[in-house]
Structures are given as C-alpha cells and as structure tokens.
C-alpha cells in the first residue's frame, strides 16, 4: 500500500492514533505520529508515492510532530519534533511543520545510519551508471540535480548518497528536494509540471519549497546503483560551461570532507572512498546554464 491509497482523513486518523503510521523511504523506515492537519496534508502531497509499512514491522526511527502542550497554543502556536524520544530542535511556528519534519528525519539518518557510508551529495542514475553530485556551499547541487531528474535520469537522492559498505552499491532514498530561494522559480520555469509544495518563508535557509520526487524514482527505490561519475558542480553566474577532469588524490580529499560519517567508519570509510575514486571518473564542473550543464553531463555519461 502507498500513501496515495489513504485519503487525507484516513492519513490523519492513522497518524494521530497511538500506533502512528509506518513509512518506507528506501534504506530506512520511520514511524510517524502527528495530529497536525496542515503538516499531514503537505506530507501526503510530498510523500504520496511512498509505501506504507505494516504496523508490526521493525522501523528505524520514531518521529512525533505535535504542538507542545503549553500556553503558546493561544498566541503564536508552535510545533515540536520528537526523535526517538529526544527533542534536539527548538520548536518552529505551527505553519513550518514540514521543514521541521525533514530536518528531523535528516538528523535521525545522519546520526543513526552508521551501517552505511554517507556522502552529503545528490545522486542520479542513467543507463545503470550513477552520478554523484557532492554538495559544496554555492554549488547549486539541489537545483542541478532537480533539473537533471526532469531530463530522463532516475532521481536517487538530493541530500544523502548512501553507500553499502559490503559492495559499494548506492541505496536510493528519493525524498522530496528542498529548493531554496531563487531555485524555486528556476525549477518552476525549467519544468512547469514539477510538483512543488507550499513555500515556507523565513527558515534559517531562507524560503523553502519541497519538490516531490518523480513517481518512477520512488517505485524503483529498492534498486541499487553503481557509482560511475563524481562531478563537483559550481554555479557561477554568467560563466561559460567548463568541465575539467579532477585529479584523483584531490577527489579523494574532497570526497572524504563531503562525508557525514567518514570519521565514524574508520578503515571501512577509507577503503570505500579509495574504491569509489578508482572506479569513477571525477570532474569539476562550472556552469551557469542548466541545459548546457545537462548536455555536458549526458555526454560524459554516454562516453563511459
């Protein structure tokens, strides 16, 4: 069963019951309990294609998103996220349940997903070959990834490149992409059919709108992918497109600093990064035009 098979009312009833609702996002499943109708409505729109897991299955995280029971509910109501019994975040305004939930889920994954090697990267796949786009501030990773996903690539993840240590395969986690500020308009123009949820102004990253993952990506999220291309993108306004092969030892350093848990993994992390940079082609890409960037990336993907 998928979230889509539940009406909004059914979703609210299940999520507000004591057992909550279990949702599978690929390498992880979580239990969600919430009574917040606005949040659940947005959640339903953005996670519509994801499978619902039976209530007696083991899940990884227990997430609760509710209003704290205090006087604030009468003036400036707030919402709190509880992650496996902990509350690491300050409450948000009641309207901002969705970004709070997404950050909460990221926190759970980054903290507890230590059985996998995690890069802070977007991942896409075409012809069985995965493209890794590591995030560096100002790289425009989410925008570029969202655009590529609209042009015949399978979208695997915007935030987490999850690598299984036993075989180096990438496990997709095609959650919604948080587009920030100008990127929202850019993607709307680039692909008018793309579904973007409500906009959340004044978050610590500016205005955020979540782009829903393509249905096909979610349907095939249990299909792993082999790393083949690592491209470090950099958006530079007005620049002409410039793709340069990146020296492997430098790529090694860039990749380790891009990892969420390189230091946790010890030898496993070192071995995995070695394997990846020796098996993948590594590039630096400077771009200003999305169509040019996509053409260029398609080319190196075809040449593999």
């Amino acid at each position: 069963m998928k979230i889509a098979h539940l009406t909004l009312k059914e979703l609210i009833d299940t999520a507000s019951s004591s057992s909550g609702i279990n949702v599978d996002v690929g390498p992880f499943a979580f239990n969600l309990r919430s009574k917040e109708k606005t949040f659940l409505s947005t959640f339903r729109d953005l996670y519509i294609d994801f499978p619902v897991v039976p209530s007696d299955e083991v899940v990884d995280f227990y997430i609760e998103l509710n209003s704290p029971n205090n006087l604030r509910k009468y003036f400036g109501p707030q919402v709190n996220v509880t992650l496996d019994g902990e509350q690491p975040f300050q409450p948000f305004a009641i309207t901002h349940g969705m970004p709070l939930f997404e950050w909460g889920l990221n926190w759970c994954i980054a903290r507890q997903g230590q059985h996998l090697f995690m890069l802070h990267s977007a991942v896409l796949e075409r012809n069985g070959k995965a493209l890794i786009l590591p995030a560096v501030p100002g790289s425009g990773k989410s925008t570029l990834c969202s655009a590529i996903a609209q042009r015949g690539w399978r979208f695997l993840s915007d935030e987490f490149c999850m690598i299984r240590p036993s075989d180096g395969q990438i496990l997709p986690i095609p959650r919604p992409t948080p587009l920030k500020n100008e990127s929202i308009e850019v993607i709307k123009d680039f692909s008018p059919d793309a579904f973007i949820g409500p906009l959340f102004p004044k978050t610590r990253k500016g205005t955020i709108g979540h782009l829903r993952a393509p249905s096909d990506s979610v349907a095939s999220m249990k299909k792993t992918a082999t790393p083949a291309l690592i491209v470090f993108p950099r958006y530079e306004s007005g620049s002409t497109i410039n793709l340069k092969p990146l020296n492997k030892s430098y790529a090694f350093l860039k990749l380790t600093t891009n990892s969420f848990n390189y230091h946790f993994q010890g030898q496993t992390g070192f071995d995995l990064v070695c394997k990846m940079i020796s098996e993948c082609d590594t590039y630096d890409l400077v771009y200003s035009n999305l169509n040019e960037a996509i053409a260029c990336i398609n080319q190196i993907n075809d040449d593999l």
Partner: protein, 367 residues
C-alpha cells in the same frame, strides 16, 4: 501469555528480561525487537545489546533492519572508543615530563584493560585522577599545550575548585574531547570520604603505559559510589550494567573477589554504595553473589531508608516502556534527584549554590 498482554504492563521490561536471558531473543518477533531497540536506545544501551547478541552468536537470527541498527550502534561505540584512546595517547605525550601518578578512570580504564564489555560501551569524556597536590601542575601543563578550560564563567570556576572532586573540564580545540581531571572519586562535600591516598597506593599499571588504573576493587567501588551517591539514578540502567559486567569479569578471574571487595569497602568507608550494588545488580541483572546474604545484610541501611530505596530505585533506574510514561516514575526520579543533591553537599552549601544558579539562569534568559 501473548506479547501484548505481557509487555504492555509498564512494570515489565523486555530489555531486563533479555539481559537476564539473551538466548530468549531466539523467539523474538518484530514487536519484541521493536520494543527492545526503543527501550535500549532510550537508556543508551543499544550498543551493549548489540554486543550481547554478538557474544551469544545470535546475529544469524536478526531481521535485516535489526541487524543494521546493531551494526550502526557498534560503529558509533567504536568511534567513541577510538576517540578516547587517541585522547589518552595525546595526554600521555603532553604529560611525558609530569612525574606524578596519573590514573585513568571509568570507561577509559575499561578500554585500557580491554575488558570485554567495553566494546559495547558508549563513552563521552576522558576521566583521569591525580593527587590534589599535583592538580595545578597538570592543569598548567595541559593549558600550555593548547587544552582549553570549558567553564569560562568565574562562579563556575570557583565552584568547581572550591567544592568539587574535579577541576573545570578541559578540552583540546582540535579534538573537542572533554578531559575531566579529578583528585578523588566523589565530591569532598559528600558524606562519604574515601581516602584518595589508598586509591593511589593500590592503583595498577597497564601494559607498558605510564598511566595507571584503579585496582579491580576500587574500580567497582568507584562505579558504585558514582551511581548510588553521586547521581540521581534516573534512567541509569547502563551504570548498573557496568557494575554487573565488572563483577562478572573480576569474579571470573578471582573467585574471592567479592570478599576482597567487602573488606576494601570497609577500608574506604563505602559499605553503603556497595550494599546497593550487590542488591540491585543481583535483583535486576541476576549478578551471581559469592558472599553470604548475612554479610550483605550487615552493611544494609536501617529500615526506613532500605524500604524507601527498594521502592524508589526500581522505579527511577529502570527504563520506561516507551509507550507508557508513568507519574510514579516521575515522582520517584524527582525524589532521588533531591536525594542526590542532598548527598552531594550539606544544605548550607547547596541552597546558596542553587539560588545563585537560578539567578544566573534568569539573568541569562533576560540577556
């Protein structure tokens, strides 16, 4: 009885049942695993559970998701262990010319001794102990080598130095591991006053390292006094697990261990924490007792105290069922929290301190 009936009882703990009989996991269904993991996470024992599973060769029966969570928990524990050993390594280098004894306490010591259960233990700080006369010297040496004091507030600095058994924590900016330097094992204001000289006399060397660790008896007594006299006991099953594991390990090496311990507790004046250790490790974790019941009752507290502790400790110390939070547990934890403060310092010191702290907090909020 079905799972629902049995473990919906808030007083029943699947985690305790598992720790007492790990082989019972062979019959676990998904609901059992879920409850076990959630409870273990809530009291920071997930890595320990993973280690127990491994010790009992139960890895092959684990559902995929459970296996992954255990691998992840052990990875986190291993990382913190590496961090701790590296910090000890850096301290040894920084203190090469320090010519007095340095004793590594608690988790760091278990690691240096390679105690089996240390593999599943989550470490946070590095705790070391030197004689009080050397404490300024060691602090100065570390400050000169770029460690920094974590408490910048003047009142906190004064409070630690005047009343505590340790100086304000230090940490090196490159590694950010907190180093706590003690001169004894319990605040000097507490009603227990073990003579630190005795601890230094018995301390033992580990391998070829110039740092020492406490003797096995003192190690247990330190852990006991820490749990039963210097903590609020709230959700502290992991400290009881430490005591259980230390017992089992040292008894396996020396069958007379508990008798030695008994004698040592008298020398240090720590009979009361030892009594609670015997009582509660045996009651909750089935720790074998090799000394007689009479000997144990000879160090028991008088009636009203023993009754109160027998009632409150199980409520406060054991993890709650994540689906049922109880008022009685909150109340017991509150009472034992008060007790911990009362034991730590006399009221004439405690009340001004708490008043001062509250005022500072209010002021900070206003700023």
């Amino acid at each position: 009885m079905t799972f629902k009936n049995l473990y919906d009882e808030p007083s029943k703990s699947l985690l305790l049942d598992f720790l007492n009989k790990p082989s019972s996991a062979a019959d676990f269904n998904n609901q059992h695993w879920t409850l076990l993991i959630r409870t273990a996470k809530a009291c920071k024992l997930l890595a320990h559970v993973a280690w127990v599973i491994d010790q009992h060769n139960l890895n092959s029966i684990l559902p995929e998701k459970v296996k992954n969570q255990f691998i992840a928990a052990l990875k986190i524990a291993e990382f913190r262990q590496r961090q701790t050993l590296w910090e000890i390594n850096r301290l040894r280098r920084a203190l090469k010319s320090f010519d007095a004894t340095v004793i590594v306490l608690k988790g760091g010591a278990y690691l240096l001794l390679k105690l089996p259960f240390a593999k599943g233990r989550l470490l946070s700080d590095v705790d070391i102990m030197v004689k009080k006369a050397n404490i300024n010297n060691i602090e100065q040496m570390l400050l000169e080598q770029l460690w920094e004091s974590q408490k910048v507030d003047e009142y906190d600095q004064h409070y630690y130095r005047q009343w505590m058994h340790e100086i304000p924590p230090l940490s090196h900016p490159l590694r950010a591991v907190e180093v706590d330097i003690h001169h004894t094992i319990i605040p000097p204001t507490s009603k227990f006053k073990p003579d630190p000289n005795l601890l230094f006399t018995d301390a033992i060397k580990v391998d070829d390292i110039n740092f020492k660790v406490l003797s096995p008896c003192d190690m247990v007594l330190h852990s006991a006094v820490h749990l039963f006299s210097d903590s609020d006991l709230g959700n502290k099953l992991r400290d009881l697990v430490d005591l259980d594991q230390l017992f089992r390990h040292f008894v396996s090496q020396n069958t007379n261990f508990q008798n030695h311990l008994f004698k040592r507790a008298r020398e240090l004046g720590l009979q009361r924490p030892l009594y609670y250790t015997f009582k509660f490790t045996h009651q909750f974790l089935g720790t074998p007792l090799t000394i007689s019941k009479q000997e144990i009752s000879s160090i028991s507290p008088p009636f009203p105290v023993s009754w109160l502790m027998n009632t409150l400790v199980p409520l406060a110390l054991l993890p709650e069922n994540p689906n049922h939070h109880r008022q009685s547990v909150r109340f017991a934890r509150w009472l034992l929290y008060i007790r911990s403060h009362y034991l730590r310092m006399p009221l004439r010191l405690l009340l001004p301190h708490l008043a001062r702290k509250s005022l500072m907090r209010i002021k900070a909020d206003e700023d």
